[in-house]
Symmetry: C2
Subunit: 350 residues, 2 copies
Amino acid sequence: MSLEDLGDKGRRAKSERAAAKSGVGAKPTLKTIAELTGLAVTTVSHALADAPQIALETRQRVRKVAADIGYLPDRAAQRLRTGRTNVISLVLDPHEEILGYATSMINGLTEALRGTAYHLVITPHFSDTPQIEPVRHIMRNRMADGIVFTRTEPADERVKLLMENNFPFICHGRTELATAHPYVDYDNYSFAYQAAKKLIAAGASKLSIILPPERFTFAHHLRHGFMTAVREEGIGFEIAKGVTLDSKSDDIRDYLFQRMAEPERPDGYICGGEVSALAVMASAYDHHLELGRDIRLVAKQTSGLFDQIRPRVETIYEDLTEAGFLMGELLLKRIAGPAPIQELQALQTV
Amino acid sequence: MSLEDLGDKGRRAKSERAAAKSGVGAKPTLKTIAELTGLAVTTVSHALADAPQIALETRQRVRKVAADIGYLPDRAAQRLRTGRTNVISLVLDPHEEILGYATSMINGLTEALRGTAYHLVITPHFSDTPQIEPVRHIMRNRMADGIVFTRTEPADERVKLLMENNFPFICHGRTELATAHPYVDYDNYSFAYQAAKKLIAAGASKLSIILPPERFTFAHHLRHGFMTAVREEGIGFEIAKGVTLDSKSDDIRDYLFQRMAEPERPDGYICGGEVSALAVMASAYDHHLELGRDIRLVAKQTSGLFDQIRPRVETIYEDLTEAGFLMGELLLKRIAGPAPIQELQALQTV
DNA sequence: AGCCTCATCTATATCGTTACAAATTTTTCG
DNA sequence: CGAAAAATTTGTAACGATATAGATGAGGCT
């Protein structure tokens, strides 16, 4: 008895100290609820998990007390015990040139995670390490229950690795792998196709497109949509050489400035990013070429930016916030358990 | 003995199952290292903590083994035992209009956290809950060891709360509270002052500035810098009414469009954000006013965007990535222990 | 030899949670 | 009424780390 008393006293003293220090009541745990209700810690745990073998009346009582004292399960303890981290990891490439790309994604993701126990952790992918490294690391050390990543490649190593290990993930963009996998993608084929048609309808006679680096799947989709349109129309075209959507914007502009000085210059441009579209406008301006007469442009719009750009530019909208939201939703569904693969895929239409 | 054997067998069987399932060797723990070195778990723990009472030779041997098998301490276990989360929480306001503001901050923060045990967790602040809520939540439930937040107010409740509880934090922007606190800020006073001087030097005769909402401290800094300059020069001025940098960009443009139609219209604009600067350009364009002749503009530049904007606009640069990096560094220093307050403050110059 | 000191290593308990097995109480029914 | 079945609650161990206190052994000193 005396030992137990001592133990209790010691514990109480400790928690009082903690309370005094933090300035608020000590953080409630299952034990707190157990003491308040006179139940065992195990019972409280089961009750909160809504286990059917706990009397309904008890479950309700426990839930009420828990709510009253503002109980929140300790993430560390849960994670240690169950192995579930309640974490979603967003692997962020520092290279994202599209303004606000990451922000939009994050906003969508947090919205999807809202009300769940999941937290969003940003895992940077530093450019001096292989792309697969952060993914391997998260998987090996169970840093998260699910992974979100972007800039998917046709034979993406990350997808392969994650699929092999049956680790929940979702990526922005598709692969060309035989095995279907979860993804959210934007229909870049249609974007490029429709953009080309618009330019032609507006009177352009030679089209140009600035593509993302070849290694990304969506570069192929864009090219395919572009090529389909120009072939259908039998119109001249070219694909910007030496620069990509990932190039520094000054380099894109320099390329365009040079190209616009040459005789066979294109007069219709398709830009898959806002900054590159501005680069087109800038070099046209620097050549005193008039937009809409000498040069035409269709840009992909991902922010409110182009609402303020003059002269007005034709744009096609891609909703990145929605993409982030979808990624969150689908990933959560995947984490909850196996699901038919087509329920884990989403293609945003133009 | 038989009981122990059974226990061991059970455990081994389990971990083998885990290994088979994940396709890689089971995750190494202190126990793994203990078995490999023949030491006790406690010793290994101490050795890795570089405790001086462990023989140097032993420490080195343990470190080597740990590195060889790729040991990484289990975050959940560490967090549960020590109470330290190894998490930095960035409270993100969904309202950030500045393009890529969050992304730049995040990039800087992750760079500062690189190589440390700290993870970056994004905690959204949904606009339908009071601003202090996420901070209170993080503190009460010890969701992080430190908090980063932005859009600081003169009598910021978050700062007060965190200071009272001696909880490590850093904010972007200053308060006007009596007690000094850690911050990283940009010298918006000088920005506005210099921007005004530039406009005047370029021939503007009446200045206008679009301010952030009044509740933010940097709105006051901007106004103060602006007012100082216009008073020094004895020049006409006004402060945009009814719109702020947080207004929808279309609303800003509509306001400006209307204002530019009136007789006493300003001819020099100071914009604290890129999108609002574009709005100025758009409404000037829509009025057929020529930039640099009828209307002058100095914008704050926070991305590469304005390198592509034509006609070229005078800008003053604010490095948000560096701000994020500084915030990370200073917060880590604060978490490591108390430090002289002036070592936890940084003011970025224009 | 016997005792002490110092250097080094180790056992135990604990953080808060949950899986598992077991115990307790209540109900059912012959 | 009493045994079996059902309903409800509980104890124990474990997840992986570390703080605390204690154990072990080598060497020094008298």
